[in-house]
Symmetry: C2
Subunit: 462 residues, 2 copies
């Protein structure tokens, strides 16, 4: 509605301008005693075409609608073409096959065994509280615990030749677990040191009546129990806190809607994967073998769209639907799992906004502690970045059982790209550059892995 009123305004302004310019017109009108001329006598005025820059016309809202229509139409044509070309490729028993697949079982075992590391962490904290081990010893044992939690499942799943998908989920959980344990250790250490300081101060002063005023809030040593620790392990956050903000009640309708989204969207992405992505990947084997650059680019662009659609669905499904379901069930109050990364105008702000749990963890438990130890901000950023790149590689290489560095390289390439975008592109252009890097960057890395995966595992059998 706004656009039409604007149009009218522009038009009326133009008519006014024309009236002012065409003095001859008004003179003629005066001659005819203020009568309008007969339509057969005057029907042309001096004026510019709208598309001439001189006209000053700028309302192209309709062109945006055209873009939307074209996008929807060409997508539906692609779906139709795909169905005509390949038939209906979706097999509905994929999830059942997946569960029955014995190569998925090692991952399940690994998931169950993660409890060992959780219990060890709690046991170590209790020992530290009772001063049965010193601060440095505790630090060492915690490090060993977390390091083992990252290394042991990786080695186990590698040698059991576990299914890549189940293996990915297991390792993703272990990555989260290790981050949670780091946070748990650091926060408990902070409170332990604080209470010792307070004790030494309180030997001189009176004991403050703090516990009385905040009756429902847990204080430091009370939190060292299984209930508190397992709540943190289940909660959709990587940053430990003694008293998480809790929502009032579980909203059932919210829970049902989000759960419905999970079921629908995961089915949809499974459908798109089988129907749209797999044929493209299979057709790209030949261009790769022939090393035909133009054909590889064509395949890449063809892969980019479904890959991006599935990524967007996956983002929504995990960061909005799944984490909100988890938070709703646990009455976990803080639902900021992502910020408005879709408006990010440079690569930095995309990385800072799209995955808030990890971003918050990196800021609180890596970046800021590094700063307090006298490391400069750019150095700290770089360390955070490399840790992040390492985990990306970890989550891809181990499940696929291939040590390539494409994911790591894909992360590293972001640095010069981010600098270029920040320097030369602003506003909507910067935003478009971020989108392009997302749309193009991912499928390149995926293509490289798929290419190597095919060569490693199928070339031998052919």
């Amino acid at each position: 509605m706004k656009s039409t009123s604007e149009t009218k305004e522009v038009r009326s302004r133009k008519i006014l301008l024309n009236k002012l310019e065409n003095g001859t017109d008004s003179e003629k009108n005066n001659n005819q005693s203020c009568q309008r001329p007969h339509p057969y006598e005057s029907c042309h005025k001096i004026r510019d075409s709208l598309l001439s820059s001189a006209s000053g016309y700028t309302n192209y809202r309709g062109i945006l609608n055209l873009c939307v229509v074209l996008l929807v139409m060409s997508s539906s044509r692609l779906v139709l073409e795909n169905l005509l070309k390949y038939g209906f490729l979706v097999r509905f028993n994929v999830p059942i096959l997946f569960i029955k697949d014995p190569t998925a079982w090692p991952s399940l075992l690994a998931l169950v065994l993660s409890n060992v590391f959780i219990c060890t962490a709690l046991y170590l904290e209790k020992l530290l509280k009772q001063s049965k081990i010193g601060e440095n010893g505790g630090k060492f044992f915690c490090f060993i615990n977390i390091f083992t939690a990252l290394l042991a499942p990786a080695i186990y799943l590698w040698y059991r030749e576990a299914n890549p998908v189940s293996s990915f989920f297991a390792l993703a959980w272990y990555t989260c677990l290790s981050m949670k344990l780091v946070s748990y250790f650091q926060v408990n250490r902070h409170y332990r040191l604080k209470s010792r300081n307070e004790l030494s101060v309180n030997k001189k002063d009176t004991v403050p009546e703090k516990a009385a005023t905040e009756s429902e809030q847990i204080e430091y040593p009370q939190n060292l129990n299984f209930k508190n620790l397992y709540f943190f392990m289940a909660a959709p956050t990587l940053c430990y806190e003694l008293n998480f903000p809790r929502s009032q009640r579980i909203r059932k309708s919210f829970l049902i809607r989000r759960s419905g989204e999970i079921i629908f969207l995961s089915s949809l992405s499974l459908f798109l994967l089988q129907q749209w992505v797999v044929p493209i990947l299979q057709n790209s084997k030949i261009p790769f073998r022939e090393s035909n650059i133009l054909k590889i680019i064509e395949r890449l662009l063809k892969l980019a769209v479904p890959n991006h659609v599935i990524w967007l669905i996956g983002f929504y499904c995990f960061f909005h639907s799944y984490l909100n379901v988890l938070a709703e069930v646990l009455r976990f109050g803080d639902r900021e799992f992502y910020r408005d990364w879709w408006n990010a105008e440079d690569v930095d702000s995309f990385w800072q906004n799209w995955n808030i749990p990890v971003h918050k963890f990196c800021l609180r438990h890596i970046y800021k502690p590094l700063l307090t130890q006298g490391i400069t901000k750019p150095q700290a950023s770089l360390i955070v970045f490399f840790v992040s790149a390492f985990f990306h590689e970890y989550l891809v290489s181990i499940p696929l059982r291939m040590f390539r560095i494409w994911a790591f390289l894909g992360m590293i390439v972001q640095i010069p790209f981010a600098i270029v975008v920040k320097k030369f592109l602003h506003g909507n252009y910067g935003n478009m550059a971020v989108w392009i890097s997302l749309i193009i960057g991912q499928p390149i890395a995926i293509m490289m892995y798929i290419h190597d995966y095919y060569i490693d595992y199928f070339e031998v059998s052919n």
Copy 2:
């Protein structure tokens, strides 16, 4: 820039809300003597995810950029796929072949012969002025002249089996010519009757000194000469006026830019036609023969995009570049050849805004005269519509030498569609419906003609 400031505003408002809600937070702060809590003590707040409707967040400007990126990317992929599939199909000698083609010559002859009708019209006007023939006789002869101008070239080009493209251009010129002659006759008739009335009035009153004040303006009988008539014939308008508004001077840079656009855009559309449209049409012969509905729809959607792109280029090239060049050369002031049809929110306003010369002619010389003769507005609209539909059919059937009624039907189908759009869709949805009708409607009609053309001319030879 606006979007980011909005985001900041939304965020700061949300932070404020959170502060108000989290009374416990501020109490805690008070307990700690207004100090901010250590980051290890508090890092979560109660808040909603942005995509939850409860968050009230609405800034999705980035998603629009995503649409633009996807559109550009998938288009360039299509170009690449096309080149890989068909190779380089463009033949650069098409325009030369076209000129050398003897079947194009009848059209050229027809164009030259159009001068006969122009001269006849001027001769008739002079006879009428001198009262050598009566008003009714003049009307009859003018009608015969215009009717012959429409019928004779059609019959001539049909029997000479002229090239469809050249034939189309010749008939398009004759259509314009006949409209111009209608306008010329009606305007001259208006002035003739007016001057006779004035003469009869002036027998009683004194003669007004009108001619003196508007010295450079031409009065009625002075306009009946070749210079004035041929200026009107060349001018980019279909509505005759004694004194057209003229621009001050010919802007050379404007002329060069517009001419460059004509050369570039006509080459581009010729390229797209050969490289993109022709392969699709050739591939759609088999689905038509098999009558496979799904495949025909797929072909139709595949044809729709290049067809629409070429139509848009053609619109710009003719209505903006060509008509502006013509107007600039003739110093014709009124450049309103189109209005903002791209924002049209219903079918009516699209038809009223996209082709202003024809719209203006229909309004001035068909619709309004019909109203003065006591015909109601809806009836007059319907008559205008049928005249327009007739000329669409005329311009397609004769060049292709096939009497089908697809173009006519295509126009007629617009009526119920327009009613539905106007009733049920408003704003951007109406605009999208208009775009869809443009994108889908045209290729359906074209497909029908091509289908019949192939069957008529090639099926026999196979």
